[in-house]
């Protein structure tokens, strides 16, 4: 019997804020559309109420609950031999991949992430089911990890398949 303890490092402290803003944008568009609809056509009051209720539930779930929940779940760690992450909220995943089999290491910064100085690191292996993503890291941490992983992966000389 063996278990794996969870990885140690949390994502950036700004991660929940960025996730919340990212989720808030589409919901805000939807809310504005509903207001416009109400202004143009105020008949069928119950339909407006139902739509507004659904929007409120969606906003609370995706803008308030999900980012906090994800921040509590997300963890990552780069060990001597493997990369290990934990992610998700409703569906949670723990994923481990050996560094000797790493093929590419990418860092990715979306527009919102750049605004807040965040970056994602994606570590791919030869299997499309085995890519490890470490999301919402502080930019300098992401660069450090990418450099570190590239260094270790370069030592191995096998073709990683």
């Amino acid at each position: 019997m063996q278990t794996l303890i969870d990885p140690a490092n949390p994502p950036s402290r700004r991660a929940p804020l960025v996730w919340a803003i990212g989720a808030a944008i589409p919901w805000a568009v939807l809310a504005v559309a509903q207001v416009v609809w109400f202004v143009l056509d105020a008949r069928l009051g119950w339909l407006h109420a139902v739509a507004a209720g659904l929007t409120v539930i969606g906003v609370v779930t995706f803008v308030v609950v999900a980012p906090v929940w994800r921040y509590r779940v997300h963890r990552w760690e780069v060990g001597a031999q493997a990369v290990y992450t934990r992610s998700g909220w409703l569906v949670q995943e723990r994923r481990i991949a050996p560094i000797s089999r790493v093929q590419t290491v990418d860092t990715h910064r979306g527009p919102l992430a750049r605004l807040f100085g965040l970056a994602d690191v994606t570590v791919t292996t030869a299997s499309s089911a085995g890519a490890v993503r470490i999301v919402a890291l502080d930019s300098e941490v992401a660069d450090r990890i990418a450099a570190q992983l590239t260094d270790i992966a370069a030592i191995g000389d096998r073709d990683a398949t």
């Binding site: 278990t3 995943e93 089911a129």
Partner: protein, 482 residues
């Protein structure tokens, strides 16, 4: 060789040809049709003249294109499998298409195919291409030097599994679709034949007519399935050739369209025994290869079509040399996993029953609805029982085995050294039930092999038992208790 391209070009452009003929007859000037035909044949000839291939020390190269030139090169040491495919027209002319597959999944133009090589050049070409990816260069050219060992040969008795597939019904559905598209049905509606049919139907009554129609479609479907299976797999031979520890697997099948696949055995990472419900009911199974550089599902990875389960198991055992992995007892996943199978299979039928009950209070419900409800619940219960019986895994001796499913039961046997990543996934419900789905990532086959609903505390010990790098990682711990 010169004939294939123009003829195929014409066949490929049939819609254009029809358009040209229509245009020709509409304008009353047959020159239009002839001009288009000449253009297409000319294009085909030009394609043949502009397509060349060469094999040098490091790579094979194909240059092609009439207006756009393209060059496709494949390093020879990256070749994982070589397959040939000869359709009827190719065979009449003594030609074959040679396809070369590397680790990458290529689609469309990126597939390295040499269309129309002379058939008598093919064995030498195949030996040359596949031999080069083997370790100590085996003398290419005389591809028959070591004796071939036949692993399986098609038997007429295998045909008994083919009526149990849906390919025949699918063919009929496709044919009906095409007929509707062409508008032939509208023309038929007023024909005397249809009138006669309608009169006959009135005499027989609706139920009998529907019964006869369904029976006829089923019979036709069975017939088509059997014929297709015979044409595709009749004369199938699976053989293996070993040299200096590196083997080559050779699969050949097809009565009209002949297909041959040659695989480098060092790329074999295991196999999947698949038993769809109907095939399993008659003791059959089919075998797929789990191999790097070969697509994991469908025609490309097929090693054996539906055949007696014992044959499939014997062949897989022969290939991977692990009888335990192929037929050994599996460790079951316990009551939580079984409970989840039942709740999932019965949730919808239960909802249906409740809905029906509510409806019965408000209005009269026809008796057949209750019968239907009973059938759905019984089917759900059978599915749940069958699925929970199937669920199991086995790990050890460097192999991971996972079995699951009912309608499409599969037993995946995967070499642990080919696993390059592990994922333990838990939905909210799985966390409450204390189970996890373990996914082994590999470059071979379908890339991710799932062990469904393992008890959560067991999940990482399965991974650790298969992959030493998990057991040796910085996070591995023996639990304090137990």
């Amino acid at each position: 060789m010169l004939l294939v391209h123009p003829v195929h070009e014409v066949l490929r452009q049939v819609p254009l040809l029809i358009g040209a003929v229509v245009l020709g007859s509409a304008t009353g000037n047959a020159m239009w049709s002839i001009a288009v035909l000449v253009l297409m044949v000319g294009f085909g000839v030009a394609r043949w003249f502009t397509t060349t291939y060469r094999i040098d020390a490091e790579q094979i190269q194909r240059r092609e294109g009439v207006l756009q030139r393209s060059v496709l090169s494949v390093p020879r040491n990256r070749i994982r499998s070589v397959s040939t495919d000869a359709r009827v027209l190719h065979r009449i002319l003594g030609l074959t298409v040679v396809k070369v597959s590397t680790g990458q999944e290529a689609k469309g133009d990126a597939v390295f195919a040499l269309d129309a090589v002379r058939s008598d050049e093919v064995p030498a070409l195949r030996a040359l291409l596949i031999a080069d990816s083997l370790p100590d260069s085996i003398e290419a050219g005389d591809g028959i030097s070591p004796p071939e060992r036949v692993l399986a040969r098609w038997q007429p008795s295998w045909l008994r599994y083919s009526p149990l597939s849906f390919t025949g019904l699918a063919t009929i559905a496709a044919a009906v679709g095409v007929i509707y598209q062409t508008g032939a049905v509208a023309a038929l509606e007023d024909s005397p034949l249809t009138q006669q049919g309608l009169d006959a139907a009135e005499r027989l009554g609706v139920a009998a007519t529907v019964g006869v129609a369904v029976l006829a479609v089923l019979l036709l479907g069975v017939l088509l399935s059997v014929v297709r299976s015979l044409l595709t797999f009749g004369n199938l031979v699976l053989s293996r050739r070993d040299e200096k520890g590196a083997g080559v697997l050779h699969l050949q099948h097809g009565l009209l369209r002949v297909r041959e696949h040659t695989y480098d055995m060092r790329r074999l990472r295991g196999g999947t025994i698949r038993q769809p419900l109907l095939v399993r009911a008659f003791g059959g199974a089919r075998l797929d290869a789990v191999m790097t550089g070969v697509v994991g599902s469908g025609e490309a990875s097929l090693l054996l079509p539906p055949c007696p389960a014992a044959t499939a198991e014997a062949v897989l055992t022969e290939l991977i040399g692990q009888p335990d992995a192929v037929t050994g007892e599996l460790r079951h996943h316990g009551p939580a996993a079984t409970r989840r199978r039942w709740t999932r299979a019965l949730a919808l039928p239960a909802l249906f029953a409740v809905g029906l009950g509510v409806a019965a209070v408000v209005a009269a419900v026809p008796p057949w609805a209750w019968v239907l409800c009973g059938v759905v619940i019984a089917a759900g219960a059978f599915l749940a029982a069958d699925r929970s019986r199937a669920l199991g895994h086995r790990v050890g001796n460097g192999w991971l085995v996972a079995r699951s499913g009912s309608l499409d039961r599969r037993r995946d046997c995967l070499a642990a050294e080919g696993i390059i990543g592990w994922t333990a996934r838990q939905t909210l419900f799985q966390r409450r039930a204390g189970v996890a789905t373990l996914i082994a990532a590999t470059p071979a086959g379908v890339k991710g092999y799932r062990v469904l609903d393992v008890p959560a505390e067991l999940a990482w010990s399965v991974a650790a038992a298969a992959s030493p790098w998990v057991a040796d990682s910085d996070w591995a711990r023996e639990p304090a208790h137990s």
